[in-house]
Amino acid sequence: MTERTMSESSPHLTPSNPVYRRRRLFNRVVMAFCMAAAAFGIIWLLLILFSLVTKGASALELSVFTERTKMTGGGLGNAILGSLIMTTLATIVGTIVGVAAGTWLAEYGGKSRLASFIRFINDVLLSAPSIIVGLYIYAILVLPSGHFSGWAGVAALAVLIIPVVIRSTEDMLKLVPNSLREAASALGAHRWLVVCKVCYSGARAGIITGILLGCARISGETAPLIFTSLNSNQWNFFDLNSEMPNLPMTLYQNMTINSFIPRQVELAWAGALILTVAILLLNIVARVVSERRKG
């Protein structure tokens, strides 16, 4: 910006000094690279979204939602239901554990060594590979019980969402001004009451945003489900002791072992579109909630 005003508005200030010219040229080259990078990144992502929408929308029909998955044809109804059940249960578990742990870190842990250590480990777990979580649940739940189950899938997803909720709960509680806590204490409220009535109501929107973002993250996870809930072609209404059909695994199987059947690949794209739209919606709702807090 600056160099342009100097050169254009008052030309006498711009010496034909080669140093100036070189600096300006170099700046233009770098900025052109930045624009090219932005275009490059956005083109890839547009291409992906384009295939997703065209391939997905052409396979979408009502039966996709109402029929169960079959070897050939069929729909995705049972997989969508299964994913909803597992994601919801995992989000509930994750919310309870995550909010409680985040509360301790923000309200009681403070700067103590234990709290800093837990915070650090939580940050690392936040981005740990999800396939490891699948293996872990396999080793501690599936192997001893001897069969794949919906509960194992819920456990794997819960392990993935807990760090997200802990992080956002702690961050949001820290934003609640200390004077509010002091005011409540001065009125004679005990500490648990201060946290429950004052801190939570101040941080509510932020915590909900965190939970929604975590929920969006786990609803697309495939790797941890391969060894835990597996997949099934049957409707499964809340029988979490048996294998649970789910959308990500269905996409994975349709694109690998069933990829020789054209209809299964089409269904996989329809499923991918449904999944992506659901996740984007969750993200947008999360954003709206956190915006409302500011406004």
Partner: protein, 314 residues
């Protein structure tokens, strides 16, 4: 902050009625209960880490003790011969992540510089939000796109480089596309922590945009930038679904960059469902190795990002 309540409660009993006294007592009990319960949940995080390490180590031990160091140097993974070597998977993981970082870092930095310094103000928020939303697209979508669109494209247009379409380089490319929004979002956040005053001062001295970025912004957020990149690397190392589809799943060690291969995560995802006995144990040992590698990488990233947070609070 509220320490005073418990200290003052002795005095409260002086003029209080019995009901009030019991209410104070009950609340004090609830206070203790609340603190201990929440601390229990917080300790669960440590328990989680401990049990992940333990369970993977215990169930991977049979394979590790059987093969010893050969597990990491053996160049072939052959379940039918009970020969399990992790070298092809380790090589594939490193090469794909390396390619991904080499492509994603300059592009992400470019996008972040564009977003923070050059982008018209009206576009800044929508573009930033788009990048963040794209960082949330599940990785299996990238994998599906890779195998359905990118691999056939590469195969038909560059048959000499990509004879099969799939391979380590294709997987690296998909990983790069996947982590670009992720690294961009972190880089942009980190660059925005530089106070506008500092930035404007540099412009006022007559610096070009590039000089401001290179000599003022980058040095003051170096740790955060490196931390963000390493976080992206951690994601690339452990990514399963985006890679499995396009890496080719070749279990022989093939020291090329464009040839077919496998990665630790892809190998686990492919073989685990049908594995048992020694093979399963070997796969769990692989999982432990992946966890240890990513743990170290992520820990370094966190240390660098945390150091930054402390210096420049938002």
């Amino acid at each position: 902050m509220t320490q005073s309540t418990s200290g003052a409660s002795e005095d409260v009993t002086l003029g209080a009625t019995p009901t009030e006294q019991s209410a104070v007592k009950r609340n004090r009990r609830l206070d203790g209960l609340f603190e201990h319960t929440t601390r229990g949940f917080a300790l669960l995080v440590l328990l989680l880490l401990g049990t992940i390490m333990m369970s993977l180590a215990i169930s991977g031990w049979p394979a590790l003790s059987e093969f010893g160091w050969h597990f990491f140097t053996e160049d072939r993974w052959a379940a039918n011969l009970d020969r399990f070597g992790a070298l092809p998977a380790i090589y594939g993981t490193l090469v794909t992540s390396g390619i991904a970082i080499a492509i994603a870092v300059p592009v992400s930095m470019g996008i972040a510089i564009f977003l923070t310094e050059k982008c018209p103000a009206a576009l800044r928020r929508p573009l930033g939000t788009t990048v963040e939303l794209l960082a949330g697209v599940p990785s299996i979508i990238y994998g599906m796109w890779g195998v359905e669109v990118l691999a056939p494209f590469l195969q038909s247009h560059f048959p000499t480089i990509f004879p099969a379409g799939t391979g380590l380089a294709t997987a690296g490319l998909i990983l790069a596309v996947m982590i670009i929004p992720f690294i961009t979002a972190i880089t942009r956040d980190v660059m925005l922590t530089v106070p506008p005053m500092v930035r404007e001062s540099a412009y006022g001295l007559g610096c070009t945009t590039w000089e401001v970025t290179r000599s003022v912004i980058f040095p003051s957020v170096k740790g955060g930038l490196v931390g963000g990149v390493i976080l992206g690397l951690g994601r690339a190392l452990g990514e399963t679904m985006a890679v499995t589809f396009v890496i080719g799943n070749n279990l022989f060690f093939n020291p090329t960059v464009t040839g077919q291969g496998t990665s630790i995560a892809a190998l686990i995802a492919n073989q685990f469902p049908e594995a048992d006995g020694l093979q399963r144990s070997a796969l769990l040992a692989l999982g432990l190795m992946l966890f240890v590698i990513t743990f170290i990488v992520l820990a370094i990233a966190r240390v660098m990002l945390n150091r930054m947070d402390r210096r420049a609070p938002k």
